[in-house]
């Protein structure tokens, strides 16, 4: 990723954005752990959807952290 692109993305990687993506990921992970441990039967579609959303949020979180490292440091 070019430094110019990273710099322009820097404004999006605020601490608040990083925290919100982290909190959302944690909440959905807790939901998945709770449903899995409690034996709540999710349909295959909902199960996959949950995993995909969690993966997307984690990817967003890591991307924001990376941009923050590159721009703030």
């Amino acid at each position: 990723m070019g430094s110019g692109v990273v710099a322009s993305l820097g404004s999006y990687a605020s601490p608040q954005a990083v925290f919100i993506s982290l909190a959302a990921s944690v909440l959905l992970l807790v939901l998945r752990a709770w449903s899995g441990t409690n034996g709540v039967v999710l349909s295959r579609l909902v199960g996959y959807l949950l995993v995909v959303v969690i993966a997307a949020l984690i990817a967003l979180f890591l991307a924001l952290v990376f941009i923050r490292f590159r721009t703030v440091a």
């Binding site: 990083v18 752990a33 709770w34 441990t37 409690n38």
Partner: protein, 606 residues
């Protein structure tokens, strides 16, 4: 002896048994050894140089008592617990009992950070890396307030013994559920203590976080067991089966946690998961390295079918990275290379962790060599244990190997390999114990054939256990306190430090030759500290020049720094006297003198 007394003695002997008597005798001999020790005569080998024969005789009693109890039928866990606790007292309580004040300068620095949080309610930016992970210091500040003091110095002296005893319950659980036999489990616990020379149990966040680490792993091993049906059946036996097992480690089904079964009900499992989530969050905000070691350990558990919920692993990683990005930004802003500069430089990282430490005087080199040898023996035995034991899962082997990835990513200031050994030691010790007392029942059969002792039975095992445990305990006693010649302090040295703080003003600087004094436990952020040398690479002339250029108002010279110069920097014996003379004159004068410390004050304000 009267008949009544003889009968009472016989009854007590029957109840307690010979092994416990040996432990009690060992305890008595430890008290004698500590009572007769003289801190002022400490030599280059540290604490061991002030202990007489009673220490070694007592340690022999405790280890032989443990070996006798370990191979007794039935196994009595309460007696083994007692004997392990006496062993812990020997290995981790002796320095605290012998030395007049707490050793290890970093512990005093941490006490200063706790005092700062206690007084200001927050950490100080840009003071030290540890202060960007203030969780453990905040907890200590709460404890300081709880006990009605204003400083954490009261916790320092006996902290190593207390925290090592706190490690015992999770270690017992890990041994119980790790898949080794009960006897190998207890022997592994004793070996773990007997070979723990790493000295990371002083008052510090890493000591507390190692407890968190053990508790998390213990809870996971107790909660989930590998599902037997998950083993691939298409490869019937031999090498094909082992290859199929290895390949199965990375199957999506296993990484989703479906290859495990929990013996706990869902409510208990959820409650434990919630508590573990809080624990990993606490770890993420209180130490730089432990959360990442935990991530690797959880991955090892997941791949070896001992973790049923992958969410815990992901949560730990998210908390660790989240805090690094948000909470510890003061640490990495401006010097990101400290974190990522050594990523992937495996050879350089391992080199900086080993070769940089093998320097100094002959006695210091002896200590370093024995440390390496002791670690090598444990890992070699762990390898033999891997070959000799049968198991339902290879969790222990993976937990031993996982921490090595840490050093591949980070040298951790040259201390990474120490931490790798520390994080792997509880599991390596259990494998090492399996070399002598292997489990013969499990889905994965042993790679080495059974060693038949014939009619000799247990006595040779008893001797092997006693000799190995005693050897490791003696080696650890020597090398654990191997830095004590310069990392332990007299009351006079503390008095000199307090005198300097009492007479210094905000903004002034206190300079030391090397960071081996009980400093920084007060006035954090107000009085500056300056160290002329960190390692043994500088000459006396260079150190003198650096000290004078620092324009410090105060310079403290002391016995511990003199010992550092002799043992690590290679300076001649008694080097500090001419060094002090060279500083005196127009720039400095003697402000106060104690038998083991001298405070110099700048003649005119710099």
């Amino acid at each position: 002896m009267t008949t009544l007394a003889r009968r009472a003695f016989a009854e007590i002997r029957t109840f307690v048994g010979l092994p416990v008597w040996l432990g009690v005798i060992g305890l008595g001999l430890w008290l004698v050894a500590v009572e007769q020790s003289n801190f002022e005569t400490m030599g280059a080998l540290g604490v061991i140089s002030v202990l007489n024969w009673t220490y070694f005789a007592g340690l022999a009693c405790v280890t032989s008592g443990f070996a006798a109890e370990l191979l007794r039928t039935p196994l009595r866990t309460s007696r083994l617990t007692l004997l392990v606790m006496i062993l812990v007292l020997y290995l981790f309580g002796t320095a605290s009992a012998v030395e007049p004040i707490a050793g290890v300068p970093t512990a005093w620095i941490h006490a200063g950070m706790v005092e700062y949080i206690f007084q200001h309610g927050q950490s100080l930016n840009n003071y030290a890396a540890e202060f960007s992970w203030p969780g453990a210091f905040s907890l200590a500040a709460v404890l300081v307030a709880f006990v009605g003091h204003t400083s954490a110095v009261i916790f320092l002296r006996w902290f190593p013994l207390v925290i090592e005893l706190l490690y015992l319950p999770p270690l017992i659980v890990i041994a119980r559920f790790s898949g080794v036999g009960r006897r190998a489990g207890w022997f592994g616990i004793a070996l773990c203590y007997a070979s723990n020379w790493i000295d990371q149990d002083y008052f510090s966040p890493q000591a507390l976080n190692f407890l968190f680490f053990l508790v998390v792993i213990a809870a996971i091993l107790a909660c989930w067991q590998p599902l037997r049906a998950a083993l691939p059946e298409r490869a019937a036996s031999g090498i094909r089966r082992r290859i199929a097992e290895a390949v199965a480690t990375f199957r999506p089904r296993r990484l989703a946690g479906y290859d495990t079964v929990s013996s706990w009900d869902s409510r208990t499992t959820l409650a434990v998961l919630g508590l573990l989530g809080l624990l990993v969050l606490a770890s993420a905000v209180s130490h730089q390295l432990t959360p990442y070691a935990l991530v690797l350990a959880l991955a090892a558990c997941l791949m070896s079918r001992q973790l049923g919920r992958p969410e815990l692993l992901v949560l730990t990683a998210l908390f660790a990275v989240g805090w690094l990005s948000l909470g510890a930004s003061n640490y990495w802003i401006g010097h990101l290379s400290l974190i990522f500069g050594s990523v992937g430089q495996v050879g350089a990282n391992y080199g900086s962790n080993v070769t940089a430490r093998v320097t100094g005087s002959s006695s210091h080199l002896l200590v370093v060599d024995v440390r390496i040898l002791l670690t090598a023996v444990i890992y070699l035995l762990a390898g033999v244990g891997f070959l000799r034991r049968a198991a339902n899962s290879r969790t222990l082997e993976m937990l031993v190997g996982a921490p090595f990835l840490l050093v591949a990513a980070q040298s951790y200031g040259g201390e990474g390999l120490l931490r790798v050994v520390l994080f792997g030691l509880p599991f390596a010790s259990l494998l090492a114990a399996s070399a002598i007392l292997p489990n013969r029942v499990g889905a994965s059969r042993p790679l080495l054939p059974r060693l038949r002792l014939g009619h000799y039975g247990r006595p040779p095992l008893r001797v092997a256990v006693a000799v190995l445990l005693f050897g490791c305990a003696i080696a650890t006693s020597i090398v654990r306190g191997g830095n004590d010649a310069y990392e332990s302090f007299s009351n006079a040295e503390l008095a000199a430090v307090n005198y300097t703080y009492d007479h210094s003003h905000p903004g002034q600087t206190i300079a030391l030759v090397a960071p081996f004094m009980p400093v920084a436990q007060r006035d954090v952020g107000s009085v500056e500290l300056f160290y002329a040398a960190y390692d043994g690479g500088s000459t006396q002339a260079q150190i003198r020049s650096i000290l004078l250029d620092s324009h410090a108002q105060w310079i403290i010279l002391s016995q511990s720094q003199e010992a550092w110069g002799e043992l690590v920097a290679g300076f001649p014996k008694g080097w500090e006297v001419p060094f002090e003379s060279s500083l005196l004159g127009s720039k400095y004068h003697v402000a106060a003198v104690w038998p083991t410390a001298t405070v110099l004050e700048a003649t005119k304000a710099p």
